[in-house]
Symmetry: C2
Subunit: 431 residues, 2 copies
């Protein structure tokens, strides 16, 4: 039997519903933790085939979601995220196959040694247990998040948006059928209906091991107040490119342009450009000219405005708030700094600890920057845009973390595990 | 100049005091993160020498603490934890030297590779930043906690008990002087006076990276409600010994006795004994007889009571609550189970995820138990009492974690770090 999506009958049942859902997931999690790689990968491959085989049914459900979304006035951007077509379904299926092809993190021996008393100690990677994932109206996340959690041996409770409920229900059903067919518990993938914000609060206070929100600031605030379980926040990124006195200015121009313009709406895009005073006059006119030509609104400190004005460019004034803002847009704050240390201090003050880059040919400056900047990813002579599980060779990612505990940077399947010490003796007791 | 301990002038100043203290620690943390192993180890060695050299002054301050403690009616057990003498001071100094001798976790390359696009990626261990440690009236923790945090490159805010304030102040001063003499920022070791519970709340909501409580359930509850920063709880341990059908019963008797009796007041002591029904009659009479003779109060399920009664032993009845309780005392709950799977299920239901042991000669039972029990440390044929950073070869520990995120089991210096990706390119941009 395949578990089906739950629908609420009354608001006061939310807590009960979540608690039952989590219990079912917990029971399944023990069976899944004992599963081998073969079964897990088989289930993911079957799910990919199921998506392709039932594409017509999925697109019909998605069509109903879209119709309801248009009727309720969803923005074109949200409708675009919600929409599926043959190409997108194929993308989701291919992603499941890629996750199946990743190494199984479970069972990895992280370290080990024999102790003086003859005990054999191994520190091994094991699943976390039950993971909650809260996300918006993107049906592909239903498949991605479930697959990443399953690959790492975890049961998952998915809480998508009600706007995508019909699409999500079909995708969830396909994955549960694939689990059953592979001899794994279908209950390992649970779905909440996404009809009520109370679901999120109840999930964040239920007996799960981790909750991962993929959404905006409002969701983050809700969880910061309510969560009693650990949360890994998909990060905001106030990222910087620092052009050092010893930079190759042509390389710096390309990196700054790529970090800002290539995809401004993502967390690893740059929001502030810092330039060493020795190269500010040589660097800024061409670099800012190119950015402005690409539609970027530039806001600079006094020195930047002066240099821009001498070059016939119009640049607004940057406030402290500009330096603290993640624009996620074609906007860029620019400042001139007297030293690499001043750049480090600026970044440690305003940055969000995501991705930071220095452009320099100077070894000492590179070293000072990489060890002095307190961020998940610190680049020398490369764009901040590379912070991504796929780019890093970790396979798919479920998000990016700027927190320091547990996992920092891209969150791949390995980051969805914990570890356990296995110790084998021959009757040792402690004296 | 050496920072001195702060004293409150008014309760409303607590938040301000904590915030200033944390800011000073943060500034120092950046300098400490850049320090090499040589400076850090030098400071710890100087601190050990300082403790020995200023022993008279420290014992005088401790004498005043003890006097005030006796006057305010502290229990003999608490007075004993508070008391220092020459031997204990030497123990504290020696512990600092042992921490100095540990490998430096900072800079360890956890993994790394060259990516297809030529980027060189390294995942390196770096300090967390600022760690808060909240503890009770044990002056040795002042030195231990500070040394472990410093070794891992972190600044620390110590919040001891007011009962130990004079002792703590001298120890803190000695460490700060040692830091200064070694060329490191004295401000990296901050101390709060411990006069007010508001200090704990303010610290748990300040801009620190982690708070580690070492105290009882009340402290844990305070933090669960108040903390907005990550917390690693020093764990409670409801630990089990399971005697399998294929156990060497003589070995099982020794392990059960050691796990319960050797030091019953610590978190890795056993609280429940589970016995496979096939060996219950052969095992329990001698094993329980020995435990009862050592002063252990035994509470058993129906079958245990029956076997005990047949052997002329008096055993009380164990309730569900007994199986859920961490006695930390000479008490033991005992149950008979029909299979290794039933033992695993019992432990996953009642255990706290700390340390669990199976005694068996059967490979399949050992494997099922080690991979099926959801705990930090799972033993085969050894006492649960070995769960300890020192025993595991990690050097000293600051506590034991039963949580699954970040760090599980003994918390050594490596667990007081995070990581950072350092990526080096030659102008790579993302397409």
């Amino acid at each position: 039997m395949v578990a089906s999506i739950h629908y609420l009958t009354a608001p006061e049942r939310v807590e009960e519903l979540v608690s039952e859902t989590v219990e079912a997931a917990r029971a399944a999690s023990y069976r899944l933790a004992a599963a081998g790689r073969r079964e897990k990968d088989h289930a993911l491959t079957l799910a990919a085939a199921g998506l392709r085989g039932r594409q017509k049914e999925l697109l019909a459900a998605n069509g109903e979601d879209l119709e309801a979304g248009r009727a309720s006035g969803l923005s074109p951007a949200l409708l675009d995220r919600l929409a599926l077509d043959g190409r997108r379904v194929e993308g989701i299926a291919a992603a499941l196959e890629q996750i199946a092809a990743l190494p199984d993190p479970v069972g990895e021996v992280i370290e080990g040694r024999n102790l003086a008393n003859g005990l054999q100690l191994r520190k091994v990677r094991v699943p976390l247990g039950v993971i909650g994932v809260v996300y918006e109206a993107r049906p592909n996340v239903t498949a991605d998040a479930a697959a990443l959690c399953l690959k790492a041996g975890n049961a998952v409770v998915l809480r998508g948006s009600s706007s995508a409920q019909r699409s999500n229900a079909v995708i969830g059903e396909i994955i549960r059928e694939a689990l059953s067919e592979a001899g794994l518990p279908a209950q390992a993938v649970q779905q909440l209906p996404g009809q009520d914000r109370d679901e999120i609060v109840a999930l964040a206070q239920a007996k799960i091991d981790l909750i991962i929100p993929r959404g905006g600031e409002q969701l983050k605030e809700t969880l910061q107040k309510a969560a009693t379980v650990p949360v890994i926040y998909a990060a905001s990124g106030n990222c910087h490119v620092y052009v050092d006195a010893a930079a190759d200015l042509e390389m710096a121009r390309k990196i700054a342009f790529n970090a800002k313009v290539q995809r401004p709406g993502v967390c690893n895009a740059a929001e502030t450009l810092l330039v060493h005073e020795q190269v500010a006059e040589a660097f800024l006119p061409a670099a800012l000219g190119e950015l402005i030509a690409a539609g970027v609104e530039v806001r600079g400190d006094g020195r930047v405005q002066e240099i821009a004005s001498n070059a016939g460019l119009t640049v607004g004034a940057a406030s402290e708030e500009d330096f603290a803002t993640e624009y996620l847009d074609l906007k860029l704050a620019v400042a001139v700094v007297p030293s690499v240390q001043a750049a480090i201090d600026h970044i440690n003050r305003f940055g969000s600890g995501h991705s930071e880059a220095i452009v320099t040919a100077d070894l000492a400056a590179a070293r000072a920057f990489q060890w002095g900047v307190d961020a998940a990813c610190v680049y020398v002579n490369a764009s901040t845009r590379f912070t991504d599980g796929g780019e890093f060779g970790m396979g798919a990612e479920i998000g990016n973390s700027t927190q320091k505990l547990h996992a920092r940077g891209p969150l791949g399947v390995r980051e969805l595990t914990t570890y356990r010490y296995l110790i084998e003796g021959q009757g040792q007791v402690r004296s």
